[in-house]
Amino acid sequence: MDFFDALHVSSSGLSAQRLRMNLISANLANMNTTRTKAGGPYRRKDPVFAALAPSRSQSHEASFREMLGNRQKEHLKEVAVVGIVEDSRPPIKKYDPMHPDADGNGYVAMPNINLMEEMVNMISATRSYEASVTAIKSAKDMALKALEIGQ
């Protein structure tokens, strides 16, 4: 558990929130998309995060110190994106007979994306990203404070 581990854990958080932001952007951009490759309207996507222990090098003959470090690191979980799930909410039926994707009754299946929900998610992603950046800054400041002991 050295200084760099804090940076690595925060870095995984930054990556996760960046991906979440990308998905929110995709959801917002496709608010009115009625055609997808899989057929039907666009469905909003959400990331699934999991806490995973950071990958560590399995050395052939770990010393006691390394083993102790590894055991301590088991509690140090990085966040990992384990999947992206599609929202299961049914599409909204909108009456628009002139639309090329309208069905026989004149209804078009539109993506069930709530603008407010996406905006709130976006604020949450931005704030989480900022929190990780602040954690990195604090870890760095702590290391630099330790260096001030010698002055």
């Binding site: 200084f3 940076l7 690595h8 870095s11 990556s15 950046v133 760095k140 630099l144």
Partner: protein, 102 residues
């Protein structure tokens, strides 16, 4: 009882105590300070090279994460600051020795 500990203490001060003898024997082939410093310099340089590579990758579009590059830079920066502190300590020790009155 007190006297015994006192003489024991004296022995260890003179370097004749058994524990001291064992310790000096054990530390007969220690890593020299110069070696350790060179190794640390190498480590810091390695981090600096990694940071340079990260910046290059970002500029070339290989690395998409800005924060990964920034973290590599920060790592190199903090390691370098630590190196500078060690250097300052060495130089101040040297200067203290050089100020010895003769």
């Amino acid at each position: 009882m007190n006297e015994v500990t006192f003489t024991k203490g004296l022995e260890s001060l003179n370097g004749n105590g058994p524990d001291i003898a064992a310790r000096t024997k054990k530390a007969q082939n220690p890593e020299s300070f110069g070696n350790m410093l060179a190794r640390s310099l190498n480590d810091v340089n390695q981090l600096k090279l990694e940071a340079g590579e990260a910046v290059e990758n970002l500029a070339a579009g290989k690395q998409k994460d800005i924060h990964a590059t920034m973290i590599a830079l920060e790592k190199a920066d903090v390691a370098f600051q630590l190196l500078m502190q060690v250097r300052n300590k060495i130089i101040s020790a040297y200067e203290t020795v050089m100020r010895t009155q003769v």
